[in-house]
Subunit: 215 residues, 2 copies
Amino acid sequence: MIKVLIADDHTMFVDGIESILKLEEGIQVVGRCYDGGSVLKYVKDHSVDIVLLDVNLPDMSGIDVCKQLSASHPSVKVLAISMYNEESYVSEILNHGAKGYILKNTGREELLKAINTVQGGATYFSKEVTETIMKGLMNRRKSSAKSSPDIPKISRREKEVLKLIAEEFTTQEIADKLFISLKTVESHRANLLAKLNARNSAGLVRISLENGLLN
Amino acid sequence: MIKVLIADDHTMFVDGIESILKLEEGIQVVGRCYDGGSVLKYVKDHSVDIVLLDVNLPDMSGIDVCKQLSASHPSVKVLAISMYNEESYVSEILNHGAKGYILKNTGREELLKAINTVQGGATYFSKEVTETIMKGLMNRRKSSAKSSPDIPKISRREKEVLKLIAEEFTTQEIADKLFISLKTVESHRANLLAKLNARNSAGLVRISLENGLLN
DNA sequence: CGAAAACCCAGGGTTTTCCCCTAAAAATAA
DNA sequence: TTATTTTTAGGGGAAAACCCTGGGTTTTCG
């Protein structure tokens, strides 16, 4: 028997969910909460398997609820429910321990599948949400891949110097660390400025980070 | 009846999968392929619902197979199977149309769940794979996901200066842009160095980018 | 309201970076 | 092998960054 807690500030929505789950034999709705604080309170005093958690709650964001929940009660699985298929919402709440993310226009079948999947220890995202995540991944890949229009090869030594510059070491400190002269470090930096087309160390760091040159 | 095609170059593995699926009533293994070319060929001539596709095949990578498959036969769902839980593999093959990604140490139960989920139109990732994806998301989204441990408020003017520093402008240029003295700009930078706990402008830029302070 | 804090401004003095130049030993590629 | 790149290093000077101090203004908060 899966014990489910529903957390959403819209009564009608909670009613809808409950009426769906009531018909299921393996699922028991053990409680209803209309704000984040009640969720934390309820979980403290009762046994709960899954929390159907709305991302947007009146008093505190579902993200915060999720964060605290997974810290204090890691065995409780959070299935996020939201009106919004926004990548930032999705990644944020998943980064804070949610086991799944579905939209509010989800049908009965999918809701049940999500609950069962999450209960089984895996994660569940509805199709639309997955597409959103993938789009996000794809865009980031493109931008990180294409954004090297004209970057000549950075030699091994130059890369070492570059890393140390990004870590805020002075030229003298870098020279000492690498057992080379201060003038040599300056040479490397000068070459880096030319290669990365930067005007100063600040630009050097920015360009490096934007193109992931420090890995 | 779900028609499944197994594509993997390790015979024993294919046997294992097939013996598992043979016991299932709703699933029928319609073919076996040991390289990528055969997959494309088979799909062209037969009706297939799901391809269990190994990411590493002898002749061509599973990514390429997936790409061509989703272009020529979009109704065929690809469920990627791999030994490796590498973020680059996962995101790449998912970007090319795969509907799921599971590892080779996956048990019988999870394999069946994955097949049914994918057949139902949703996507499926095993727990470990999801963690990998989320880790990747988190690293790229440090700004939104991560907490800012000890960053005092940056004033409006300081932020302006900070942005211009990151854009490689010199102190004099910043002073001219903002119609203030060179010395004033230096003051702002000094305050920024203290607030962000940086030693120099390079660190200023790094910390800003890591914490998304330039938005 | 009134004090404390934060913000914006700015100058003097010191250290560091940046730039333009040259150049040789060492490693790598053709 | 020869040719190219990398790594090393230096002089000298202009520019920028950094450190310390302080005054005037605005914001915040009891």
